[in-house]
């Protein structure tokens, strides 16, 4: 099995940050702050439009082919779980933003698992860049592929 070279771009998404999607996502995650749902309150708080909730870029799932992506990394979908996810914020994500996210491989490691043989850990990072070329949010995630049981 070949190792994925680091810094390789494994997928790319582009999408608009929409007010309606922010509202749906805020409701689904039980957010109560009306800065996510009421443009007047967002403006009174000093923003151009409503603000997205912290994990909003997860909506990129709508624009991705997760199975195809996992297979392109040479991973077996049924043995893959997401271990960790981290978001780093450079400014509040706002309705009306246009984002481009390029997902790249940061590291690809193998470790001996306790029960199921060799595990593979792939760390990926996605910089979500706005129309001006500035990074708004960086998402990092660690995918864990369990070994095949003997």
């Amino acid at each position: 099995m070949s190792r994925i070279s680091t810094e390789q771009i494994v997928d790319e998404v582009t999408f608009e940050v929409e007010r309606g999607k922010i509202r749906e996502f805020a409701r689904a995650t039980h957010a109560r702050d009306q800065v996510h749902t009421d443009p007047a309150i967002a403006r009174a708080s000093g923003f151009d439009n409503v603000l997205a909730t912290p994990t909003h870029v997860v909506v990129a799932g709508h624009h991705r082919d997760q199975r195809g992506f996992v297979e392109s990394l040479g991973l077996a979908m049924e043995r893959v779980v997401v271990g960790k996810v981290r978001w780093e914020y450079f400014r509040p994500l706002t309705a009306g933003d246009s984002l481009r996210g390029r997902r790249r491989v940061v590291s690809d490691e193998r470790r001996e698992g306790k029960r199921s043989g060799q595990m593979r850990l792939i760390t990926l990072a996605t910089d979500y860049v706005d129309g001006r070329g500035d990074v708004v949010v960086r998402q990092s995630e660690v995918l864990v592929e369990r070994g095949e049981r003997p």
Binding site: F25, V35, S45, G46, T55, G61, Q66, K84, W87, Y89
Partner: protein, 137 residues
């Protein structure tokens, strides 16, 4: 931008309780986030994978934890948020979102608080979290 709130090391956040998680909550999140893995809506697929019923996607409770922190501190003050998934969440689970300020870097301008976070089902931690937020001096 709204004013940051003050925080000191040792400050325990007032927990938020969510649930019991209904299948509708999971499906609502699937639609919002675009996660259509059948493990999260099709009981037969979930059972074939060894679960008693559909399980929630980790991003559901990760998102709830993030939105709760944003409600408390203001989303514009959040600097980072991270989660580590420890156990699957099932339909019917009641979750408690908890957090504590473990340290405040007062030398930063504005000061930055480090939060240690957890999503619990009873005494079991199903998700470990950490965040950094700008706070008032």
């Amino acid at each position: 931008m709204r004013s940051a709130i003050p925080a000191r090391a040792g400050y325990m956040l007032q927990p938020r309780t969510v649930g019991p998680i209904a299948l509708t909550d999971i499906v609502r999140f699937a639609g919002a986030g675009g996660d259509f893995n059948p493990l999260h809506h099709d009981a037969e697929t979930a059972r074939a994978a060894g679960f008693p019923d559909v399980i929630a996607m980790g991003q559901l409770h990760a998102g709830m934890l993030g939105s709760w922190i944003a409600d408390v501190f203001g989303v514009e003050h959040l600097r980072s948020f991270e989660v580590r998934f420890a156990a699957p969440v099932n339909v019917g689970d009641t979750l408690t979102l908890t957090g504590e300020v473990t340290e405040v870097d007062a030398s930063a301008s504005p000061p930055v608080a480090v939060l240690s976070l957890a999503v619990k089902r009873g005494d079991d931690v199903v998700l470990h979290g950490k965040a950094t937020v700008a706070v008032a001096s």
